[in-house]
Symmetry: C2
Subunit: 556 residues, 2 copies
């Protein structure tokens, strides 16, 4: 039992080998805390899925030990699973975050009708205790304000969890990463560093957010008609720079898109976004202004089909009608997988005669994540004994691991882990001990967890070659087929050629049925298999396709 | 009739508002020629489709006028439709291209068992006549050797079609773009310039292919184990640089992947790729060599799941087994839409302990297309009266159009067109005259053209929420339902929750059937509609999904 008490367990449940659904469990004795609880957005491998959550069964089964949930910043890949998690572990587990982070979480909790959550505000410089753990929070720069890194003081030593970060020497809000605190913790000794790997493959350093301001000012001052800037709604620094540039050029700011409206409202209420009431106007009042006195802040930087920008591009926006000569700035980088969607929006805008500026054609975006040299600086500042690269696909975790080796951390002290693996530290050594229950949970429509791999595989098969349903009526008395088999197809073939092909297919099935009848087969499974085989072979011979084939046998 | 004779018609049938399936028709009087006949590769909007062709009905219906097909270079988006086109217009229509271009086309023709094609070799500097048209060809640089621009001398003036090009001042093969010829044609007068727009949004100039050589040499010399380089199989210059770097570092070259093997063979036979027989070895002989004396040239730079590189990443390649410490260089840029597939391969390799170098982390790729300043230089060299930006999505065509304005071409002389539009030049003026039959033709399996929008939409719907088939047996005598309705679903729901849900759905359908029976409905359409509505509503209420619902009514 003493042994169990003296071991520190670190279990990433999400965020490894993926970008998104970040979540880490830290356990010691009878105490457990969670750092971040994020979601991931589905891609074409998850047709029809709305959201992806980490599987937190491990936590749910040990919820009596759970002392708190610490959120490093307000992005959905760090906050989005909080409502789902609270439903599992109880609404009274404290959720800790900075003011803006909690403000954004509060909106999500309201959507989920969670009313009793215990939101506890912390700030850079705060100290907090949860069970046996003590925490210090220190400011870091990222593409959303008010991000923190977390120092977790455990009986076995200090853990530093960086959250997402970059080192911005000229941050928009003047809130520098607390280099002195990092150095002090490094001096005190860091047992384990868990550090953001997103940009570990990118050489050099990430440019300052301030550098985008210059481009924005130039674009806004040179444009002689309306300028629409699309950005992540949570990127309050970017939004601040757009507002500043607009005001400097004598343009009023109009905000459109649900999340942009929500986030700018919250950010202004909480003091993170500074713009005079006079300079921000309602979309319905825009018509009164000359077009060169307007700057529209919009959602849709990822090409989302229902976003404000996509609606503008489709001439389908309630209040903003795009005109030739307008300028659209896409001040964001497409998340991998979104390139085509963003391209579609740019093409529609180009067709409408709009000047489109984007990352590929102008300096309108910088990353919020530290590049290789910054990651090395972090390693050198805190000089950890052990390192777990977090927040990244395998390629990023490996690259980060190589960076750690390059600054002198021994290979055996860097743990490139998988979600659900447990790093156990005790008796002065660390090792991967076990794999806990972990994985993904799909949210599709109203339900959480009932769409699994079988359903997704079926959806993909269906989308590739379509489906053919064969209905055969069988006389319950004699076991013999009655009448003609019905054949219904979707997604296989259509148009003039399809009639004769399907006629021929029906004949082939009828022949197969006659054969099974001659052979005396009455077992439904045998009949189904025979017609499935025969139709599958027919489709392959004729059109080289392999639709999903569903035989239905009805006894009447 | 004289009027008809004196008009020049230029009809792009593909390559506008898209990257791929480039094809342009040029007509004067009773003569027609085609420049390029390419394919496009399908993306997630075309599930199950193998290839996309331009619809060339317009040409097929006028095939008696067709004097020849000119191919500017050997990439599939310029050559791939040649076999399909020849099947429509007759195998005896001459196909003109440079030696390498024809070599690559020949392979495709053999695959299609086209034996009588008239392939006519041209070269930079060649003059050719086809009908009333005379042609001059001039060398241009691109990411495949032996590309040409085409000067088409018509009774109304000269057309310059650039093909795909960049201005490389230090080309690998020493074959410079013929600047003097361009200037001379410019001096003679260019009525119309049709110019590559792919990189029109990219500021500055595209770096020389030679700059990639430095990186390759450094990577190959620093690696202490095997190096695998994946590249486009047609990028013979890149392949030459890999071979040169490998030989310089004392490594033997092993070629793997069907298209890489084919293309290096053709390129060596035709003299486009220089490597001693001693330096290129069979994959089966690789085992005898120390790993730091091997360089593998591989397909798979786009993450194609069945490619050599993907197989290596999956530990599923016949002859190349990846080992920790090996280096993989992805010397290519992902085509938009392929980012995730490439990412998957990189992640698999990273997991296997391989060092992966790619465009984002090292200088291992440059584009083959001219950037903005080069496009302006082309415009200034030839000083055309009219311009059609070709080869690009709307965004690229618009950007190119803006570049043309910026160097002084009047707006009304630049035509941003759509596929199928006809630019008619006569009496000293040009105007868009009509829209000819055009569009896309899908190749899926063995068949060309039987998969249309309906099939693709069905496949997409199927992939989003799955499908439910309801089978109802109806007594042919009484028109009343017999027995229980059958319900079969795919891609909707699966697992423990699905049983009760589907039970309830069946009950709901039975209830609806009872209702239609009470109301005396015997019309199949009425019954089908009723059960479709009722099940659709049920699914939405219960799980917020809208599967495709197919009611099948069987009379027995």
């Amino acid at each position: 039992m003493t042994q169990k008490k003296n071991r520190l367990r670190i279990i990433p449940l999400g965020g490894l080998d993926e970008i998104g659904k970040n979540m880490t469990v830290i356990e010691y004795g009878n105490d457990m805390v969670i750092i971040d609880a994020g979601i991931m957005f589905p891609d074409e491998d998850h047709p029809g899925v709305d959201l992806i959550l980490p599987d937190f069964s491990y936590v749910a089964k040990r919820k009596d030990k759970l002392r708190g949930i610490i959120i490093t910043h307000g992005h959905e890949d760090h906050t989005g699973a909080v409502p789902y998690l609270l439903k599992e572990v109880g609404e009274r587990v404290p959720v800790l975050g900075t003011k803006l982070t909690l403000g954004l979480i509060q909106v999500k909790l309201e959507e989920h009708r969670i009313k009793k959550a215990k939101l506890r505000e912390i700030a850079g410089g705060s100290h907090v205790s949860l069970g046996i753990f003590r925490f210090d929070f220190l400011p870091v720069n990222h593409s959303i304000p008010d991000g923190v890194a977390v120092v977790i003081r455990t009986p076995l030593g200090n853990i530093l969890h960086t959250g997402d970060f970059k080192f911005d020497q000229t941050p928009i809000d003047g809130r520098l990463t607390d280099y002195q605190m990092l150095a002090r913790v490094g001096k005190q000794g860091v047992l384990l560093l868990m550090s953001d790997s997103t940009n570990a493959e990118t050489p050099g350093i990430t440019r300052s957010e301030a550098s985008v301001g210059d481009s924005l000012r130039r674009i806004l001052s040179e444009a002689d008609k309306r300028v629409i800037v699309a950005s992540f709604a949570s990127h309050i620094h970017r939004i601040q720079q757009v507002c500043d540039a607009a005001v400097a050029c004598g343009r009023k700011v109009v905000v459109t898109g649900r999340s942009m409206i929500n986030n700018t409202r919250i950010a202004r209420q909480l003091g993170y976004l500074q713009i005079d009431d006079d300079d921000i106007i309602d979309a319905y009042d825009m018509g009164d202004l000359p077009s060169d006195e307007v700057c529209v802040l919009s959602t849709g930087s990822q090409g989302e089909p229902l976003s404000a920008l996509a609606r503008m591009a489709n001439a389908d926006h309630k209040t903003v009608q795009i005109e030739p000569g307008d300028t659209v700035v896409i001040a964001a980088s497409p998340v991998p997988g979104n390139e085509k969607a963003v391209g579609r929006v740019i093409n529609r805008l180009a067709k409408a005669g709009v000047h489109v500026k984007h990352k590929g054609s102008a300096d309108v975006h910088v990353s919020g994540h530290a590049a290789a040299e910054e990651l090395k600086l972090m390693l050198n500042l805190v000089q950890p004994e052990y390192v777990i690269p977090i927040h990244g696909e395998s390629r990023h975790l490996r690259a980060h691991s190589n960076l750690a080796h390059s600054v002198g951390i021994p290979e055996e002290n860097v743990f490139v882990m998988e979600n659900g693996q447990c790093l156990e530290i005790r008796d002065g050594s660390a090792r991967i001990s076990e794999h806990v229950e972990s994985g993904v949970v799909y949210v599709d429509g109203l339900s959480v967890g009932d769409v699994g791999q079988v359903v997704l595989r079926d959806r993909q098969l269906l989308s590739r070659d379509g489906i053919a349903t064969i209905v055969i009526a069988i006389d319950a008395q004699t076991g013999k087929p009655m009448g003609e088999p019905e054949l219904v197809t979707r997604g296989i073939i259509f148009g003039p050629e399809s009639g004769p092909l399907l006629e021929e297919a029906r004949a082939r099935i009828a022949k197969t049925l006659a054969k099974t009848a001659r052979e005396g087969a009455t077992d439904h499974a045998v009949i189904k298999n025979a017609v499935r085989e025969s139709l599958s072979q027919f489709m392959w011979e004729k059109i080289r396709r392999r639709p999903m084939i569903i035989p239905v046998v009805m006894e009447v």
